[in-house]
Each structure stands twice: as C-alpha cells, then as structure tokens.
Subunit: 247 residues, 8 copies
C-alpha cells in the first residue's frame, strides 16, 4: 500500500493533480461497503494506524466479517470493547486473533508497526480503572509502542505513587487513568516533564455521576501539560499518546 490519501489530497491542494485523477486513484481504496458497515482504510492511510473496530454493540458475526475484510487487505487489526462471550463467537472465524480479557480487545498483528521513540507509561489510580488502562496499553502496543504499566497508585497513598517515580519520569508520554475524584493527572503532571494524557473513568458511584466528577477535575488540572479524552476512552488516549511518541 504505497499511495497515501494525504499525498493525494496534498497534490490536489497544490494543483498538481486533477480531482478526476484523485478520485480515480482513491476508487475502491478508502472504504469498502459491507452493507451494514463501511470498512475504512482512511485512518491507516492518514495516521499510520492499524484498522480499528469499535466492538460495542456489534454482533460476533458483524465483527468477524469486518475483521476478515481488514485482514484480507493485509492490515493489522484492533477490535475494542469485546466481551468474552462475543469473542467466543469470533475466534473460530479469525485465525490468529488474540483476545485480551482485561482489555477486552481482539488483536491480530501481521506486520510489525513502526516503533515509537520512547516508552508510554500507563498509570491508574485504582484497580477498577485497570480495564480502561489495559485498553490503552494494548492499543499503544499494537501501535508500536513500549508500555510501562504502573497500576493502583492513587493519590490517597502517595508512598505508592512516589515508589514508581523513576519509571514515570523515564516515559516519553504518560497516560493517567482515574475515576472518582480524578486527582491523579494533577499530581503526576506536577512530577514529570512528559506530556500527560488524562482518562477519566466511570469508576465510582453517587456524585461521581458516571465519571463526570473525574472528567471535570481533569479539565481543571492545575499544572500545565495535561490533555483530556472522553470518559473510559482508553483507546483514544493511547492513540493520541502514540501519535506523540512517533513524532
């Protein structure tokens, strides 16, 4: 797969390619219609990422068909939000697929992705945040990054957090994952030089309002250098971290 959509668009913008040729060059390329879903190779082309399928709400049959289409193209595959019983209906149809029950991901890596330049640390406040963190960690790995997992080191026990100070500060990008009061990124960003990506989780009850409390806390994070993604969006955090780590 040589031509990049980016190149085509760039040529059109620069007036070096006519739109007819551009459309022709892109025909049959950016997406393929499966009836119920279009498989898009756009992200791979633009961002160098594997094909990614958001599994939530899809049947095993739908996931299997999309996944096979992707794999047939020779692309690497990442499916997120796959419950074990869904994977049970997939695995026979998708040779080589690896299921990670903590991350609820299905991966199938054919070609080694371009390596990130440093390590991405994934830090959680509690044990309940681990599924989101694992989604981030597996995503980051599939995207070619080394991942340092530092789990269950919430701000209520600073001794735990400081125990891992060296591992944190060696990371090129840091992902912090926390529910409840969402204080972790503020403390971590005060300790490291790396950019910090904050993932609020829906862990908690009552006035956590399904992650709203953590989300607001992270958006108000006092030290600079923190970017926030959607609640429980481990994938999104890792995707952003990987973009940065490949710069």
């Amino acid at each position: 797969m040589k031509k990049k959509l980016e190149e085509v668009l760039g040529k059109v913008a620069a007036g070096r390619m006519s739109p007819e040729k551009a459309l022709a060059a892109l025909k049959g390329y950016p997406f393929k219609d499966l009836g119920f879903a279009k498989v898009d190779h756009h992200r791979e082309v633009l961002k160098g990422a594997p094909e990614i399928v958001f599994g939530l709400g899809k049947t095993p049959d739908q996931i299997a068909r999309i996944a096979r289409e992707i794999v047939a193209k020779g692309s690497n595959l990442l499916v997120t939000r796959v419950e074990p019983e869904v994977f049970a209906g997939i695995k026979g149809r998708l040779r080589g697929a690896v299921y990670n029950p903590a991350a609820r991901t299905v991966t199938l890596v054919r070609t080694k992705p371009a390596a990130g330049r440093g390590t991405i640390a994934v830090i959680t406040a509690g044990t309940s945040d681990i599924p989101v963190a694992e989604e981030a960690a597996v995503t980051a790995e599939v995207l070619g990054n080394d991942v340092e997992r530092i789990y269950d080191v919430g701000v209520a026990g600073l001794h735990r957090l400081l125990h891992h100070y060296d591992r944190m500060r060696r990371a090129r990008v840091v992902i912090t994952v926390a529910g409840m009061e969402g204080a972790l990124p503020s403390v971590v960003a005060g300790l490291v030089r790396a950019p910090v990506i904050a993932v609020p989780t829906s862990v908690g009850y009552g006035a956590s309002f399904h992650g709203l409390a953590a989300l607001l806390a992270m958006l108000n994070s006092c030290p600079g250098g923190v970017g926030v993604v959607n609640i429980d969006n481990g994938f999104g955090a890792a995707f952003l971290a990987s973009l940065i780590n490949h710069l």
Copy 2:
C-alpha cells in the same frame, strides 16, 4: 447567661418541665426582633458559639444594628462576608470591632472563648483560595482554636506540600481549601490521621463551573475521613472543625 436551651428542651423531653414553664423560661431569650431581622442567641446557647451574622447582602446600617444588639447582650460577635466599603460604614458605630480584610470578617471578642483541645490546620491549594481560608481561620480563632495556616501548597507541587508535613500531622483537625480540580483533600487525607474537612472554592473558570468540579471531586475523595461543606463556605468548615476540636 446560664440556662441553656438544651437544658430546657431536655427537661421538657424528660417530662421534668412543663411547656408553659419552658416557654416562659425562654421568653425574650432566644431571639429579639429588629424588624428586618431576628437576632438569634440560639446557636450560642446550643453550640457555645459567638453570635454569627452572615453579612452578604446586608447594609452597613443593618449590620451595625444587629451587631450592637449582640454586643449589648455581652456575646462575642462574628460577621462574615463584609466588604471593605461596608465595614467603612460600620466601624464608627461599633467600638472595638476588628476588620480582617483578607477574611472579610468583623470580629468583636469580649470574653475569651473556651479553648479547643488541639490545633486546626487550614491548608489551601492556591493563593486565590486564601480569602475562603482566612474566613475559616478567623472563624476558628474566634471560636477558641489555635490555627496553623499552610497556604499555596497545591498538589501540582508536591514538594511544597510535603515541606509542611510535620505541621499538618500535628493538627487535631485539618481544613483543606481548594478550587479547580479540588484534589488537595484526597492527598492530605492520605497523609494525616486527623479528620479532614474539605471546602471547595469557586476559584477557576470554564469547566470549574463556579466550584462544582472541586465539589464533586471532594465528595468522591478516595481515602476515608473527609467531610465536605458548601462551595466557599469557610465559616461552615471552621464551625464544624471547632465542634470537633472541642470534643
């Protein structure tokens, strides 16, 4: 002022005093009508507190008249939320009144209040939180407590916070005051043995939503031992802290 409302109510509940006598005993006692406001001596009687006036929205004339009524009874006085220009209109009419511009309080202490048993630490995350913290500190002092002020030690700079670890852990009660992400009480409660009272402040902008972010964070505080009061309610935090410190 010897008889306590509490005693009267207790006698009535225990059947040792008739309601007629109770009402007679309390006549002219628990409040005095100034037309625009009733001066209530109830809190003083019940909780051992000075008379407290919430100054916000009252004119200098109203405050002065209420204050003089209180002082005439021999009670100590605390007026909160008094802007400097309001105090300018009061001070000539209230001999001995002390204005604290940082706390926006007017105090007039005639009789030494019962001393608290330990120290109350008042800790802020930032400099903008100081007015609320000072309201708490002055309130605590008027209520008879020693106060340890530890300001501007937010979680973004753990080195500052840990610098004051000894002062914090010597306190019998800790008040934490923070806006924005409101992470301070979670970190402090993980470090000290004392009960922690958390005051969210309206410091911040955008997604702080006037203190909502800090409030929610504090309610979700992971370590145990944290009780939360209303946004910017320095007085309420100190009142609770003083009750605890006088146990």
Copy 3:
C-alpha cells in the same frame, strides 16, 4: 505491627532517616500484589483502621483471595457492598466471617479495635435509608465504636424525631442518613451539639435524581456543624465519625 508509615515519613521529613532506609523499612509492607489487586495495609497503618475492601464489582473468588491475604496478616477485615449471593461464594473459604445482610457487609474481627470515646448515633429519615445506615453502623462498630441506631424518624413526623431527642444528644458524633429532600441533618444539627455527618441516599425517584436533591440540600444545610459525604456512602460517614470519636 509496631512501625507506623507515619513515623517513617516523619523521620524522612525531619531528616532523621535516609530514603533508602525508609524504603527498605517499608519494603514488603505497605501493599502486596495479588495480580488483579494490591492489598494495601496503608490505611490500617495510618489511620488505625481494619483493612477495608470495596466489594462492589468483585467476584467471590477475588474477595476471598484478598480477604484471606488480609486475615493472614492478622488484620481485622471489613468488606462492604457484598450481595448475599456473593457472600454465598465466599463463606466456605473464609472461616469466621460474619455476614450482615442489612448492611451487606462481611466482617472478621480478630483483635479488638481501640474503643471510641463516646457513642455514634446513626439516624435515618426513612426505612429505605436503612441499608446505607447499616453499612455505617457496622463500619463504626468494626472500628471500635458504640452505635446508637435511631431509624425512620424523618422530618415529616417531628414527633418521632423529638421522641429520640435524649438518645441523639448523648451521642459524641451523629450520622444522619436521608434521601428525597435530605432535610434531616438540618433539623438534627439544630438540636444537638455534636458534629453531624450527613449521608445523602439515592432513595427517591423523579426529581431526586438518584440522590442529587438530598446531596444539594445537605451541602446547603443552614445550621453549622454539618459535613457531607458521597451519596450512599455509609462507610465513609462512619470512617470519618470514628476518626472524630477516637480523638
């Protein structure tokens, strides 16, 4: 268990212990990795509390393994939010564990906790608030406190509430538990001298918004001396009350 984390940190802060020695002294001590969860002895060390496990969302197997680890250390155990069917999967593996179906707690007390200095009153507005109140009461008892239960005395029937006036005012700390309009702590704080901890519950429907109405009411409580914890957080209220009662 003699050495306290607090002491170690204190020595480090005071410069009387090198960090190497501190880390060595704390090695193998503050938490133990079970793979899916770290068992933390930190709260016990710092606050004198038993080991506490938040049971919600954990499998019987996970709870049993964590609990046995704790018990093996010689600590007392409290597991909250355990449904009966979950306990059914635990009890064979945890000799001596006591299940309280009203509080949904599992407790295993080996060593008598330090006794609190007074009584903690736990007061509910309605019968639906009792599960949260029982979580508070059991927690308080496990932490060494005498508990006075005063249930179903909401403000709509003042005669019920006043009927228990004597029991309330004898308490050293008062926990009020209420859903719907959440008016109970305001009324109680006006009657007693003790600090009042307010627990909003998710009891109600419609405009109760799962406890938000009660939460806001409690934060706006007019009389001083009220600290609020998260919706349905009976454990947190009791933990704070016990800290105060052991002062």
Copy 4:
C-alpha cells in the same frame, strides 16, 4: 364588569352562542394594544383577580402607561418586581398607587376584592427570604385574603418554628418560603392539615445553584400535601393560595 369570558366560552362550547356573537361580545374586551404590550383583562375575567403586571425589565414609562390603562378600566392593579428607583418614576403619574419596598410591589385597590374564606399563612425560613414572602403576602392581600406572616423560623431552630404552631394550624392555606436546603415545607407539612405551597428562593450561594437545591428538596418533600412553584415566585404561590382560599 359583569360578563365573564368563561360564560362566553361556556355558551360557545354548549352551542348556545355563535362564535360571531362571542367574538363580538369579547371585542375590545380581553386585551388592548398599547403598541409595546397588550393589556389583558383575561385573568381578571377568568379568575377574579386584579390586573397583574410583571414589572421586571419594564421602564417606568411602560409601567405607568399599562397601569393607567388598567386603572382607567376600573380594575384593581398589582405590579410586581418594581425596584424603588422605578417606582420613583411612576408615582407622580399614578395617583393613589401604594409602593411596598419590602415586597417591591405597586398596588392600587379601588374595589374591595371578594374575601377569602380563611387565613393564608406565609412562613419564611430566613430573613433573606422576606422579599419573596412579602411579594406573596401583598399579592394575597390584594386578592382579598387575610395574611399571617411568620418569618425567620427555619428548621435549624425548631424552637422558633414550634413557637408559632398555633398560628400555622389556624391557616386555611400555608405558603412556605425557603432557600438553601429548602427543608421548611417538609417540616411544616408534617405539622399542619392545610395544603402547603412551597416557594424555593434563590437565597444561598455555591451549591444552592440559585435556588435549584431548594427547588429539588421541595419537589421531593416526603409528607403529602405540598405543591411547588417556580424559584422566587412569591406571586404565583399567593395566586394559587388565593384560588384555594376562595373555594
């Protein structure tokens, strides 16, 4: 003013009057166009009320012109939400108008309204709630009701509230006015047999969210017999109370 819109509509519905005649009968009657506002005599006709003008945001000139139009028709007049400086610009142009600065109302009563059958009690939790309560009290009086004012008797001081028990229970309708935690109607409705109308006020700060906390509390009021109106809507509460008191 004899003919009632109600009668006309009733005849039309019953087929005893043709629409032409109805429209003719109502011509020039239900509203008069002043260019910037239509003066509606509809509420007077339907509900037996005086003409009511919501003064907020209107200029003295606009109010004066509307008011004179109303008075010229022989109707009684009530203008709500009139600040003193606005009334200063009106009074010279509206002979006989009475301004109540506490209620911020302008009234001009020509013909004695039909008397309500009992008393309407207006009860406030605090002194800051008085402006809203006075709007209610003046409205009720203009609508022909006897009003019993019981102010500054919030639930934090039950002794004050119970002091007025006899006055409360003699009322045929009770209006309760409270901001902050809004607990007053719940307590009062537990004490009286009369219907209770609850007016949340915007009194408070922080987590009162401009009256939202009190509003939610009142909607969740546990004892039956409570109807709620908009925040600060003293007029609406009195209007409803008067309808009930005239049944």
Copy 5:
C-alpha cells in the same frame, strides 16, 4: 380513634397539657415497629388520610405484614407502586384487598372516608401518562373524592381538549398529568378557575431527560394557579388535591 395528634400537640403548645401526659397519651399510638418498618398512623391522624404504603422496593411479604397491621387497626389502606407479580404474592394474605392494574395500587377500604366537597378532574396529555393518572385517581377516590377522568387530550389536539371544557370547569380541583413538553397545565390553567396541580411524567425519550423537560415547563407555567409535584407522583398530586377538596 378519637384523639388527634394535632389536638395533643395543640394542647402542649397552648400549655394545657404537660409533655408527660402528651407522651403517655401518644404511647403505642403513632407508630408500631415491625422490625424492618415502622407503621405510622400519623398521617391518618393529622390529615384524615388512610394509611399509605409506598410499595416500590418492598417484598410481597413486607407489604402484606405492614398492610395487615394497618387493617388490624381498622384503618383504610392504600398501597402504591405494586406490580402485578407483587400483588400475586399478597392477595391470598389480605382478604378484601382490591388491585387496580392500571394504577398499580392495592386498596382496602373499610370505613367510608369523609366526602370531598366537589369533583377532582384528572386530565392526561397522552395514553402513556395514564398509569400516573390512575395512581392519582385511585388515591383521590380512596380519600373520599369524586373523580372525573379526562385522558389523552394533549395540547397538540386542542379540539380534543376543548371537547371536554365543560367537564373541566365543573371540577373543584384539576390535576394535569403530562410528560414530554409538559404544556397541558399551562393551557388548562388558562381555561379554568380551579387550582391546577401539575404532575410531570417520565414519558418521553431523549431530551425529555426522564421527565425533567416536563417538570421545568410546569414550574415555568405562565398562567397563575399551578402547583407542581414530583415527576410521576400521582399519589402526591391527589393527596394535595384531596386536602383542597376537603377544605
């Protein structure tokens, strides 16, 4: 049952009865402890209502035991929010109980309640609002009122609504029940002279936010004379309407 709590309280307040005698007179009277619930006769005494049980979340066994206790006292019984399968577990144990599946109520009327003075109209906007309306209608009937049901006459079809104009205006009190945009009470209050009680329902989806849209609309109702109760609170609306109708 002759003595009224109200009388007792009144005598105490007036100083004509000592508290000992009052408590003695009330002993064993206002509530009876069933362990899991206190059966309260207070509302009956104070408001002339039957005993009311909120059935939601109670087991058939709990409801049956509470109900039999009430019936044994000779009181009338109303249980709300009872699903058919719950009633199936009750009916064998509660002779004479009547289940209304539309209203989800269980009633058992032994003594004819005091008759209301007029009719209560219950009006719904749509068919989905009928369960809430039926809860209101059955409650009103059990409380001794004649009820006029006018269903499915939302403001989108004014012809339907006006078709019932005569029935509406004959009512002494009007209850309006509506979800979605909640416009019904505004239109009805513009048409009738009676007080209007507005019940928002959770009928709708998306931006109805479970009844919030209807609730806010009703609180902002432009014509006077509207009181609002909690979302889906058919019982509360009828209880208030009945109080008014018995004045």
Copy 6:
C-alpha cells in the same frame, strides 16, 4: 456577482474544473481580511442571503468597517444584536443604514432580494419575547419574505391565540417564539399545516434556567413538524424559514 461558489465546487467535484482554476476563480472572492475579521461572501454565494454580521461584542468601529466593506461589494447588509449606543457610533459612517431598535438590527438593502413564495408568520407567547421575534421578522424581510407578526398570544390565553387562527394558517412557514414553559409551538403545530420553527427565549427566571426549560419543551414537542433553533436565535429561525419559503 454571477459565479457561485456552488458552481465552482460542483465543477471540481464533477471533474470539469481543475483545482488551480477553481482557486483562481475564487481568489479575492470568498473572504477579505480586515485584520480583526474576515468578511465572508460565502453565505451570500451559497444561500442567496445578504451579508450578515453578528454584532454582539463588536465595537462600533469594527462594525462600521466590516459593513462598509460589504456595502462596497454591492451586497445587502444585515447586522444583528446592535444596541442603540453602538448604532449611535455607526450611523454617521454608514449612509442609508436603518436601525430597528426593537429588533436591534442594522439593515442596508440595495438590491431587492428574491421574493419568498408565501408569508412567514412570527408568533410570540409574550411581550418580552418581542425583541427575539423582531430579530426574526427583520431578518426574514431582508431575505425577501412577507412577514405576519402575531405577538403576545401565549397558550395561557387560548382566546387570543385562536383569534388569529386565520392569519396563522395562511402562512407558508411559522416561527414561534416563547420563553418560560415554551408551550406555544406545540399548540400552534397542532393547528397549522405549515412547518413550525421554534425559538426558545431566555425570558423567565428561576427554573427557566435562561431558556433551558423552553428549549427542552420545544425539543419534546408532541405534534410533528417542529424544528428547534438555539435560545434567542431569532436570526437563525428566520434564515431557516426563508430557505424553506424560497423552495
């Protein structure tokens, strides 16, 4: 101004024009840089609209400069949200500009816009909604439409609303403008065949939450055929209505 951006884009999409030529053709055309603002001729080109300037927050000088640029191009001009004192600083510099104080608009029409095919009715619930309605009416007129103004006919007085039934049903598009409970579009859409555009206004107080109540009501409007725009967005409603009226 003959060439349309639409044509250019269409040709590019159809491969009949190279991007170079397209960019050349559009050079200096779609926007002109004034330093602080780009004057965009895009909407005019695409939608046949005059140039529109959102005046809020702009200085008289900025508005005058943008306006003169537009007029110099020969376009018609509409500036919205212009307060009188702002226009005072503009009028000397913009010959022929017409200020409408009710609508707070500045218009300058050089060439007669294409006429809409029918009438647009603009209906308000109250007098306070008129400024938003006038913004809509003036916008619609500048866009070439006949406008029928029907003001102050809220649902609380159906007699007023029905009085104008004939005028409403003759309109090809109806714009309804209402604050508070926002019930007007539901009632109107039940009466007319035309598409109804609903504009919530921020008119109201308390639980109107600055127009949120009206907005939610309109989004939940029961009868079909209602499209909603932003709170107070009279311009947007008219722009949409005009597009429809020119179909």
Copy 7:
C-alpha cells in the same frame, strides 16, 4: 374522507359555521376510543399524514388493535419503534403489514400518498446512527417522498462526505443524523442550499451523555438553515422534512 378539521375550524373562526354544527360534523370523526388508547385521525386530517403509532412500550396486542382500527378506516399506517419480537406477535393479525428491521417500523400503505416535490437526503455520520436514519427514511417514504440515503460519511473523513456532494446538493431537504460530537449538520449546512434538519442520536458513551453532546452541538450550529429535533427522533425529522417537501 373529504372534510378537513381545518376547514371546520376555519369556518368556525370565520363565523360561517356554528359550534353545534362543527361539533356534530366532527362527531365520531377525530378519535375513536379503544379503552386503552384513542385512535386519532387528527394528524391525517390536518397534515395529510398517515396514522402514526408510537410503538415503544405498547404490547403486540395493543398495537394490533390500534393498527386494525386505523386500517379499517382506510388510512395508511406507520408504527415506529417496534422490536422484532413485538412484530412477531403482530404480523399474523395485520395482513399486508411490512416490517423494516433496520428502521424498526411497521408500515401498511393502501393509498399512494401525495408525492413530495423533490428528494429528501438522509445522511448519517456513522453506522451506529443508521437505525435512527432508517426510521427517518421509512417515515419519509411512507409520507410520499423520494429518499436518498447517504450513510457513514462523518466529518472525520471529509473525503467520504465530499464524495457524495452531488447527491447532497440535489436534495430539496436534507436530514443529518449524528451522535458523538454531532458536527455533521454544521459541515453539511455549509455545503448545501437546502434546509437542514439535524437529528442528534444517543450513539456514544461517557461525555456524550446519551446524545446531549450532539444535541447541544447542533443547536449551536454556526451556519444558518439548521433546525433540530429531539435525540433519536428520526420520525420527527422526516415528518418535518416531508411537510417542507410538500410545500
């Protein structure tokens, strides 16, 4: 079915028909009572629409009975929000009914509806938005419109969106369906001349808050010409679009 309610109302308003005759003429006409629901022919009469049943929450038996009543009248039928298992209980009783599983609709068209004048484009951002879009598309078709489906062309892949530019700009009305960030209508409205109807969907998680994020985005859409309907309201969007397309 010749006479239109509109005509009758018009005559009454114009004084050309007495109300008695109007009511007689409409007797037995606008609705028929089925006990649990009134079948309304009003929308058909007023708007030229088929009879529409909102299926959510209705049993197969209820839907079948309503549907047969409608069909017996000779009207076309559209039932929305019908899950497959519900249709399974209907189809044997409703000869000729067509079920569309993607749209979850049941349709039965007897008489060809009046044709719309142009095409309605239905555009979705993602594949998860398709059910809502299909509800819109099927509704539009039943109402007599040609529909152009353009699915899965979200703004994250502009190449996909622009690929369909020609199909979009040929539409007379455009319906955009999007969840998550809801950016699609803003981009589309900047590209086409047609009115755009925006349907937010509840697709997403976390901070999408069940469609609130998309709803707010659409209400704030920058380019003119966008009207918004309720979250997931595909039917409402198509109903409005069809009204416009039949002008």
Copy 8:
C-alpha cells in the same frame, strides 16, 4: 540556574541524596513568599518553562511585585489574562515588558528559550475565538516555538479550511480553538497526522452554555488523536503543545 528539582527528587528516589541535603539544596529556591503570593520556580525547573502568572483577579500592584521578583531571578516572564487597564498600571514598573492586547498577555523574555522542533499551528473557527487563540500563540512563542496562525476557518466554510490544508499538515502539533458547536477539531484531526489539542471557547450564547456545548463535542470527537483542555484555556493548550514539540 543549573540544578533541577527533578534531579534532586531523582537522587532522593534513587537513594543518592539524603532528604536533609535535598531540602537544603532546595531552600530559598522553589518559592519565595511575597505575603499575598508565593512565587514558584518549580514549573520552570521541572518543565523548562518561563515563570507564569495567572493575572485574572490580581491588582496591577500584585502583578508588578510578582513579576519583578521573577525577573530579578533572571527568569523569563509570562502573565496571562491581563486587561489593558491593568497593564497600564504595570508598565511603568516593569521595564521591557511587552503587552499583547489581543492575547491579553504580558511577556518579558530575557534568555532565548530552547527551540521547539517543529511548528505549532493555531487554528480558530471564528473571529471571536481569536483572544483565546492569541493567548495560546503568545504562550507557545514564549516557550520557544514557531507558530502558524490560521484564523476564522470554521467548518461552516470548508473552502476556507481546505485553503490552508498545506499549512496545517506541515505543523508538528495543531491547536484548534472553537466555541459554539466545537466541530473544528474533529474535522482537522481527520485531515492531519499531527496530535490535535482542542480548546473549547465560551463564544456563543444560549445553548452553548458558556462553552459546555463545545467542550462536550470535543470530548466526543470521533477521529483519534485529540486531547482537550479547559474552556478558554489557550495557555494550557500551548503549554501542552510545547511539551510535545520539544520532545
């Protein structure tokens, strides 16, 4: 300034420095007490940033004193949120300070900051977003980055946005600034390979809810690679972008 706090902490963590020495080394270094504010050199030390002062709510005198303290240390200075009238009171006291009225920043750069490795593009949707964008741009420049400003290219006019495609894709990091519907980052992230930082602004009215609409949209951004900061937080976006650009 050679020693880095990071080094000191690292040595302590690695056991190569005793805490006494660390505290001694940091004495007088990380912050200096000015009474009303502590000047912190921590961020400079940790992140390589200049000293940053958040100017909002500070008096000219306070800013001047803090600024001079910073400058005296030899650090570069950035003060954000400074209104022109505040700067007027500063400039005489702070030689060499440069005020940028669009960005509302005061800068004083003594030593050339380390250069970022690529360009940071700052893109706005509208002209009203420019102040926030300028705060970002000036911050980025002070931190040593080259900035490419691309303003007023909102998604409503794709032609403008695509016009700048080449400039966007050359950037190493992209900052997008948008209010209202906040769609810009979704579109941009679909076009570029660089990490995108999204800044919602409070630009808009009504249902923008002071930036909430844009914030939610950005958090739900469909394409990967987007991190969000607080509403109007231009500084925070630039700080994060600069960290990334210096990797």
